[in-house]
Amino acid sequence: MSSTDTSGSTTGSTAGSSAGTAERPGDHPEDLVLLKNLPYRLRELIPVAASVGLGITILVLVGGITDRGGDALGPRFWPTMLAWALIGLGVLLVFTNVLRGVRPSDIPEDMNWSGIGRMVATFAVLIGYLLLFNVLQFWLITMVVTVVLLLLYGIRNWKVLVFLPIIIGALLHLLFIVLLKVPL
């Protein structure tokens, strides 16, 4: 557990996906260099919580499954076993990822608030779109959704705003409604 090299600290945080592309000579164990900064290690408590939390939730919900007794493995056996596995693995993660350090490739590119806002808004638009399936003309809502999303992503080029929705709407209409006869 001796710590020496933390060269890939904050600045290396985006290195995750691209670093792997460098050709390595072969058998050297990967990610030998673990990041030791406290924020990274504390961040690893979230996966631990997710794992243990899901395990406990399942254990609670398993109580609602009919138990038929008997000697054969019943409907509760398999989920219960998996739930305990999740809890056990969560505890192991505390040792491997929180106490020992974080692999550089586990640290993703930073999120930003405008990005999160964009995602939430996208979800709102998509759910609205989904709820209008079978209510309004499919090609119409598809075109409207495309325009709204384009505006949301900051596209102001009028040619794109006109043509992309028409292309997508027409293509989807042809493929799914005319060709595949999907009831939409």
Binding site: R68, G69, G70, A72, G74, N134, L136, Q137, F138, W139, I177, K181, P183
Partner: protein
């Protein structure tokens, strides 16, 4: 639906033309029945595309179009033992424009805590049947149904059979068999008919109870051997296979497929649809497609079909309750 306005108007025109020409044959029913199909009819298949239920719907649809003079659009809404489609139908307007295919599960899903009851539907007609059979591996020591019963009596719970899944149509006759013969068997459920029959052919279980037609491939291939047909008389194609009743167990059971509408559909609409279904199922092309699938085409009108469903519900209920109490 909206995007079909063009199609709809075209269909309406066609329908008008057909009605004008075909009035004489249709108006006999009276009571405004000649008014009914003015729009496209939606026929929901509550099973995944490609199965035999789907196939029967797609074979029947064009024939129904000929009879009714409007388009019949087939749609798959599969999921959860068919209950997704059945549930969808329950919530539609009872105007005869939304129909669904159904199988025996409509009568039995309620016993498995699904919110599906025959009372929620108007039954229009039965279009095909698949009589059941009991089959064993070709080299099985059981030569007759009685051999099997004797073996099960000697070792209660030791004899195993494969079924296409819990809550399937064939669980019920299996339960009925145990009741009538006074034996105890062990059910090994599989995921669908083909794997469950293959399990019997491979000797993983002692016998298979399923549609005779589904077992036929393995019987023809010399892997399985029929012990008994679960019908009131022997089947033409296999005259040597005795019925269960001949062997002392009066068990008859068949899977079936039919059509239904939501409860509350007006009687004259039901009558129009029922007539159309009967006429369509008497078509030779329809009959040959169904026969090729090793099923039996039938033409049962609404009234008779409704009584049949009620009888099935009453017959199955106690068996399912019994099966549930025994599991564990």
């Amino acid at each position: 639906m909206k995007q079909r306005t063009l199609m709809t108007s075209a269909a309406t025109l066609a329908a008008a033309g057909l009605l004008l020409s075909g009035c004489a044959s249709n108006s006999g029913g009276g009571g405004g029945g000649d008014e009914f199909p003015t729009e496209d009819i939606r026929l929901v298949v509550p099973w995944a595309a490609g199965g035999s239920g789907d196939l029967s719907a797609r074979t029947l649809a064009p024939l129904l179009e000929d009879e009714l003079g409007v388009s019949v659009i087939v749609e798959n809404r599969p999921g959860a033992n068919g209950s997704v489609g059945y549930n969808w139908l329950k919530e539609q307007e009872p105007d005869g424009y939304n129909l669904s295919m159904l199988g025996a599960e409509v009568a039995t899903l309620q016993f498995m805590d699904y919110d599906i009851k025959p009372a929620d539907y108007a039954f229009l007609g039965k279009i095909l049947e698949g009589p059941g059979a009991i089959a064993v591996k070709a080299d099985s020591p059981y030569e007759t149904l009685q051999d099997l019963i004797d073996a099960a009596k000697a070792a209660p719970g030791e004899i195993t059979y494969s079924s296409p899944g819990v809550g399937s149509v064939w669980d019920n006759p299996a339960q009925g068999f145990q009741e009538m013969a006074g034996i105890e068997l062990t059910n090994v459920p599989y995921d669908g008919s083909a794997p469950s029959i293959a399990a019997a052919a491979a000797g993983d279980v002692d016998f298979s109870i399923d549609a005779m037609g589904s077992q036929k491939a393995q019987v023809d291939g010399g892997e399985l051997r029929y012990l008994a047909v679960l019908a009131d008389e022997r089947v033409e194609e296999f005259p040597d296979v005795p019925t269960a009743a001949e062997q002392g167990v009066d068990l008859q059971n068949a899977s079936f497929t039919g059509l239904m509408a939501p409860a509350g559909t007006p009687d004259d609409v039901v009558q129009t649809l029922s007539d159309a279904i009967v006429a369509a199922t008497e078509d030779e092309d329809y009959q040959s497609v169904i026969e090729q699938s090793n099923l039996v085409p039938v033409s049962v009108p609404a009234g008779e079909f409704t009584e049949f469903i009620q009888a099935e519900e009453e017959r199955y209920g106690p068996w399912i309750e019994l099966a549930k109490s025994k599991q564990g």
